[in-house]
C-alpha cells in the first residue's frame, strides 16, 4: 500500500535517508525503530507531506504522493508534542479536521462523539487541553488524528511523554484501536520494547538506512547484523573466525587456548572468515558445576549481579577478560540463591542458541 522507491532525502550537505526502498502493507502496524538521528522521523514527515524526497518516489495506494500537500493527503499524523490547539476545547480539537471537510453539522457531531467514545474521553469534551492530564492529551491527539478516518495514521513517538505504567496500558489500547478501525499505523519510536509490543513488523534503521525489516520475533531471534542484534535487547557478541564442520555447523575460534565454540548458521561462512556470535543472555545457562552435555561451555568468575526482581543478570568475567552476560529467572527466593560474587561458574549454551553474523 505504501511504497518507498529508492528514496533519498538530503538536508543541505547532510543525507538523512540513503536510497531507501520499503513496502508497508495495508492494515499493518508498522514500526520505524532506531536511535535519534537515524532518519526515522524524516521518513514519517515525508509520509505526512512535510518533507519531499530529494530523489525517488513514495507511493500511497499506487499514487505518487510526492507533490501532494499535507492537507490533501488521506494521511493523518499524531505529533510527538500532540500539537493540540490550546485555544480550542477537546471537542473542537477533534472536530477540527472534520470541519475542514465541510461536513454537515450533525455528521461532525456524530463522528466526534464516536471518537470520544473510542478513546474514553466523553467526560472531558468541554475542557481545554491544559485542563487534562498527559495521558488524556495523548488520547485526544489520537482521536483527532483518527477522526477523519485516514488510510494511514502516522504516530511520532506517541507515548514518549507518558510514564512507564501508563505507556504499557496505552500500548495495548493502541493495538486495540488499530484492530477496531483497521487503519494502517506507522509508528516512529526509539523504544525497542514499544516497537516490539505494538508492531506487527519492525524496521530497524541506522544513519538513514534500513538495517532489517521483519516481525519482532525474527528481529530478536534472528537479527541479520551485529548492529540489529546489539540494538534490540541485550546481547553477548563474541568475535572469532569461522570454520565449517558440515551440516550448517561451524566452529568459532575466538580466543587462543580456548576450545572453539560450536554454532549453527543457515548462512554460509568460509573457512577463516571473521564472524560474530551473538547470544542472548537468557539463552546462556549459569551453573556451578561443569555441564556434561552442553555444546559450548566456558568457565569464568561472577563479576557483578544485577537483580531486576523477576530476573537476575550475571556478569561473568572469563579468564581472557571477556565479559559474558547470563540471565536467569528468579524462580526461587533470593536467600536460596546459590551463586554470588566472585564465585567460579560455568556458562553453557547450545549450538542453536546463538546467531552467527558476518558483520
Amino acid at each position: 500500500m505504501i511504497r518507498f522507491q529508492n528514496v533519498t532525502k538530503r538536508f543541505g550537505e547532510f543525507t538523512a535517508i540513503h536510497d531507501l526502498s520499503l513496502d508497508i502493507f495495508e492494515k499493518e502496524f508498522f514500526a520505524l525503530l532506531g536511535p535519534s538521528g537515524c532518519g526515522k522521523t524524516t521518513m514519517m514527515r515525508m509520509l505526512g507531506g512535510f518533507e519531499t524526497p530529494t530523489e525517488g518516489r513514495i507511493e500511497l495506494a499506487g499514487q505518487d504522493i510526492g507533490p501532494v500537500p499535507p492537507n490533501k493527503r488521506a494521511v493523518n499524523m499524531m505529533f510527538q508534542s500532540y500539537a493540540l490547539f490550546p485555544h480550542l476545547s477537546i471537542w473542537d480539537n477533534i472536530a477540527f479536521g472534520l470541519r475542514r471537510d465541510k461536513l454537515p453539522k450533525d455528521q461532525i457531531a456524530a463522528r466526534v462523539e464516536e471518537m470520544l467514545k473510542l478513546t474514553r474521553l466523553e467526560k472531558f469534551a468541554r475542557r481545554k487541553p491544559h485542563q487534562i492530564s498527559g495521558g488524556q492529551r495523548q488520547r485526544v491527539a489520537l482521536a483527532r488524528s483518527l477522526a477523519k478516518a485516514p488510510k494511514l495514521l502516522l504516530l511520532d513517538e506517541p507515548l514518549g511523554a507518558l510514564d512507564k505504567k501508563l505507556r504499557q496500558d496505552t500500548q495495548f489500547e493502541l493495538m486495540d484501536i488499530q484492530e477496531t478501525t483497521g487503519t494502517t499505523f506507522v509508528i516512529v519510536t526509539h523504544d525497542q520494547e514499544e516497537a516490539m509490543t505494538v508492531a506487527s513488523r519492525v524496521a530497524v534503521m541506522d544513519e538513514g538506512r534500513l538495517m532489517q525489516v521483519a516481525t519482532p520475533a525474527r528481529i530478536y531471534e534472528t537479527p541479520d547484523s551485529v548492529y540489529v542484534a546489539d540494538f534490540i535487547g541485550d546481547v553477548n557478541i563474541i568475535q572469532g573466525t569461522a570454520k565449517p564442520i558440515g551440516d550448517d555447523r561451524f566452529h568459532v575460534s575466538w580466543n587462543e587456548g580456548q576450545p572453539p565454540l560450536t554454532a549453527t548458521s543457515a548462512k554460509p561462512f568460509s573457512d577463516g572468515q571473521t564472524c560474530h556470535l551473538a547470544i542472548r543472555p537468557e539463552k546462556v545457562t549459569i551453573t556451578t558445576d561443569k555441564p556434561d552435555t552442553a555444546d559450548n561451555a566456558v568457565q569464568g568468575k561472577v563479576h557483578d549481579i544485577a537483580y531486576l526482581g523477576n530476573l537476575s543478570t550475571y556478569h561473568v568475567a572469563l579468564p581472557c577478560g571477556t565479559m559474558i552476560k547470563a540471565q536467569t529467572a528468579n524462580t526461587r527466593r533470593l536467600s536460596r540463591r546459590q551463586i554470588t560474587w566472585e564465585d567460579p561458574v560455568w556458562l553453557s549454551w547450545t549450538a542453536t542458541a546463538g546467531v552467527l553474523l558476518a558483520e
Binding site: 492537507n71 500539537a83 490547539f85 485555544h87 483527532r144 477523519k148
Partner: protein, 294 residues
C-alpha cells in the same frame, strides 16, 4: 510578614506619591478659577475657612465649559480616531514583522530584536525632527521621488495628518512588535503542521491557529500603542499642521498659550478618565493571559 508588607508598600508608596498626589493637585486646579496671580488660579482649599466652605465653593464650570465649546469634544474625538487609525496601521505593519522575526532562524533573532530596540537609543525628539527633514517639501523623500521621476511637484506631507500617522506608527511600532513577537515565539510550530495535516491550507492554518494564539500579543500591542497615542503631544505639534486637532496639543495650548490652568487641568482630568477604560481593559487582558498560562 513584615518583609512582604514592605515589598508591597514600596511600589504602592511610589504610585501614591508620583501618581495619585499629582492627580489630586490637577483635579484641585480644575475645580478652581483663573486669576491674575502666580500660580494663575484661585486657591481652592483655604484652611482658614474649613472643609465645609471648601465643598460649597467647588465649582464644575470648567468641566461645563468643555462641553460648551465644541473645540474640546472635537479634539477628543479627533484624537480618538487618529489613535485608532494609527493603532490599526501599526498592527498591519507590526504583525508581519513580528511573524517574520519569530520564523527567522534562531541565530538571527537576537540581531533582529536589537534592530527593533535600536531606535530607543536616540532621543525621541531627535527622531521626530529627523522625520521633519524627511517629509518636508525639500526633504529627502520628495527629492528622492522627484529624482525617480514619479512626481513633478513635491508632495505636501509635513504638517498634515498623514505626517502624524507616519510619526505615530514609526514611534510606537516596537511596542506593537515586541508583545506579538513574544506570543508568536512561544507558538509551537507543530501546531501549524497539525492544522495543515488536518486539512487546512497555509492561509487557513494561519487564520485558525496562529492568529487566535497570538491574540493576547495583538491586544497587548494595540493597547500599548493606542493609550500613549491618544494623549500624544509631541508628534502632532511637530509633524501635524494647523488642521491636526489632538487633545494633547489643545492641553498644551491651554496651559502655555492661554495660561488657563483650570480649564487645562479639566481637559487633563477628562483625558485621564477616557484613558482609564482602555487601561482597565488592558490590565484584564494581561491578567487573563497570566491565568491561562498557569
Amino acid at each position: 510578614m513584615m518583609r512582604r508588607f514592605t515589598l508591597i508598600a514600596v511600589p504602592y508608596l511610589w504610585l501614591l506619591l508620583l501618581f495619585l498626589v499629582p492627580f489630586v493637585i490637577v483635579l484641585k486646579i480644575s475645580l478652581s478659577d483663573t486669576a491674575l496671580s502666580i500660580p494663575p488660579y484661585t486657591p481652592v482649599l483655604d484652611w482658614a475657612e474649613g472643609i465645609r466652605a471648601f465643598f460649597s465653593q467647588l465649582d464644575f464650570e470648567n468641566f461645563v465649559w468643555l462641553t460648551q465649546d465644541d473645540l474640546y469634544w472635537k479634539a477628543y474625538l479627533s484624537s480618538f480616531s487618529i489613535a485608532l487609525v494609527s493603532t490599526l496601521l501599526t498592527l498591519l505593519i507590526g504583525y508581519p514583522i513580528a511573524y517574520g522575526m519569530a520564523r527567522a532562524p534562531e541565530e538571527w533573532r537576537p540581531t533582529l530584536m536589537m534592530l527593533i530596540i535600536l531606535p530607543f537609543w536616540t532621543s525621541f525628539l531627535i527622531r521626530v525632527y529627523a522625520w521633519m527633514g524627511i517629509l518636508s517639501n525639500e526633504g529627502f523623500l520628495n527629492q528622492f521621488l522627484l529624482w525617480l521621476g514619479l512626481i513633478d511637484t513635491p508632495l505636501t506631507i509635513l504638517n498634515t495628518n498623514t505626517a502624524v500617522y507616519i510619526g505615530i506608527v514609526y514611534t510606537y511600532l516596537p511596542f506593537m512588535i515586541l508583545p506579538i513577537y513574544a506570543a508568536l515565539d512561544r507558538l509551537d510550530g507543530s501546531l501549524i503542521e497539525a492544522a495543515e495535516d488536518l486539512g487546512c491550507s497555509r492561509l487557513l492554518a494561519f487564520w485558525l491557529v496562529v492568529i487566535p494564539l497570538s491574540r493576547n500579543g495583538i491586544v497587548a500591542g494595540c493597547f500599548l500603542v493606542f493609550i500613549p497615542a491618544l494623549g500624544e503631544f509631541v508628534i502632532p505639534s511637530l509633524l501635524g499642521g494647523s488642521g491636526t486637532l489632538m487633545i494633547g496639543k489643545v492641553l498644551w495650548e491651554e496651559f502655555f498659550s492661554n495660561r488657563d490652568w483650570p480649564v487645562a487641568s479639566a481637559v487633563a482630568v477628562v483625558l485621564l478618565l477616557i484613558l482609564v477604560v482602555p487601561i482597565v481593559l488592558f490590565q484584564r487582558n494581561q491578567q487573563k493571559q497570566a491565568e491561562a498560562e498557569q
